[in-house]
Amino acid sequence: MLATLQLLAEPVDRTDVAEETPLPHRADAGRGRSLPLIIRGLRKSFGDHEVLRGIDVHVPAGQFVAIVGRSGCGKSTLLRLIAGLEKIDAGSISFGEETRLEDVRVMFQEPRLLPWARVLSNVEVGLGRSRNLPDADARAEAALSEVGLADKRNQWPAVLSGGQKQRVALARALVSNPRILAFDEPLGALDALTRISMQRLLERVWRDEGFTAILVTHDVSEAVALADRVLVIEDGRISQDIEVDVPRPRQRGSADFAALEGSILRHLLGADERGDS
């Protein structure tokens, strides 16, 4: 408890500090509440084009799964189906039990902040129906501290940098203590350095909050750095299901990573060459 208090007293807004310091858990943090994700025979078409042709996967509760694939392979569609943004044509997606809207959250490539609301109100949007409860401010502030932006609470989104906006979007996704958090290339629009610090932030938040994470990305090295498991999607099917058996905290640029990343890339490029011939 003493350690917790000391941590609270320290400024936590600087990016470098925010990534490395394990912040005190929020009282109702979601550890142990995470949900499994079970997908069976999932199909989805847009017009004549069949994007997903039978996806079967079981993600245990609390796992960090990355979904990689070439653009147009259907990975984003899969994520939108999981988030309930599109209708399922055939098959099923379940989380093992009944979920509320607040249990499954999505973070997009764009921050999608309301430009006319201050940072704190933007985070409060994430509380869903409980945003009118008296503890809404406190919860939003806790989520902002979690991403290291407590001092930006009264700013307009327009004055934030791209990375900061994305962190506010992360705080908004976290504030309702989701049990499944889906990321749709959340770092795709950021510069290389901001990306790396955001990747560390995502990993830390996932460790602290204990939700099931589903990350869609086209960046194989990002997938390997963050995930317990990498799913490769090709032609609307899962073509590879790879366990990333590297202990955390992971060292970037180690030989293990390079080998794994190389083999996934070779697989993806190999598919391309097979397709060409």
Binding site: F108, W116, A117, V125, W156, A158
Partner: protein, 268 residues
């Protein structure tokens, strides 16, 4: 919105105090030239009275109370016409922006009516209403209806669909979505409509009061013409200009207050 955002920021690096004064340099300079031209006899008084004469006329009318009464009458006509027409335009804009059914039902009709210049209706309006207040209110209301309708509709239709999707997945009800996402998103466009409408409001009123009225600024100008009181004619024109500028400034202040979040209005 992206177009507005890409425009250079209106706030310059110059001293704010000088910024406020500098816009009056050109008008004051022109008035000085005008006065000089009249005093030296370059411009005969029959064509254009000197600014000092216009001021004198203003003073006389002010003392007699005629000026204030006419300004009040015109201002009342303008504002009530604006509220009625703008209110109806805003309501139709909302309805047609939010509901496809409503849009299908009324948009084509409104677009057809829009193509009739509203001032062309003056003879008809005089036949219907005579020259009393309702004729002027009707014309002003009709004139301001369309800019507000069109810009409200456009504002609502161009709200970022990604934000609407975000609002939906975060569980906003329809009312909340409207209040927190759609209306604020449409506001910059609505203000463009309001500023257009304010211009049309004065234009319509001037024409209506000049042609058919028994009080108001336009009537004052026409009376003065009858008696060759050119200083009062010029005075009326200047007052119209001032009132127009005043209305525009008021809408700018309102814009600044409600669009404080917008990058174009942020002070650094």
């Amino acid at each position: 919105m992206s177009l507005i955002e890409s425009l250079p920021r209106p706030r310059s690096v110059r001293l704010p105090r000088a910024d406020g004064l500098i816009q009056w340099v050109v008008p004051l300079f022109m008035i000085a030239i005008w006065q000089l031209a009249c005093v030296t006899g370059l411009v005969p008084a029959r064509v254009l009275p000197a600014p000092s004469d216009v001021l004198l006329a203003a003073w006389k009318l002010l003392i007699s109370g005629e000026l204030v009464r006419n300004i009040c009458v015109s201002f009342w006509r303008a504002s009530s016409g604006f509220l009625i027409g703008g209110g109806i335009g805003f309501a139709f804009g909302l309805a047609n922006g939010l509901s496809q059914l409503s849009s299908n039902l009324t948009d084509t009709t409104l677009q057809m009516v829009r193509n009739v210049p509203h001032l062309a209706l003056i003879p008809l309006v005089i036949l219907w209403f005579g020259i009393d207040e309702s004729a002027k209110l009707f014309l002003v209301a009709l004139g301001v209806f369309f800019p507000i309708y069109l810009n409200t509709l456009h504002g609502i239709r161009t709200v970022d669909p990604q934000l609407i999707e975000m609002g939906r997945i975060y569980g906003m009800s329809d009312g909340e979505l409207f209040r927190r996402v759609i209306l604020p998103g449409a506001l910059p466009s609505i203000f463009v409509g309001i500023r257009f409408a304010l211009g049309i409001m004065w234009l319509t009123l001037i024409v209506a009061e000049t042609i058919a009225a028994s009080s108001g600024l336009g009537y004052m100008a026409m009376q003065a013409r009858e008696f060759m009181l050119i200083d009062i004619v010029v005075l009326s024109i200047l007052i119209y200009a001032l009132l127009g500028k005043l209305a525009d400034s008021a809408s700018r202040v309102l814009e600044r207050l409600t669009l404080a979040w917008h990058p174009a209005f942020q002070q650094h």
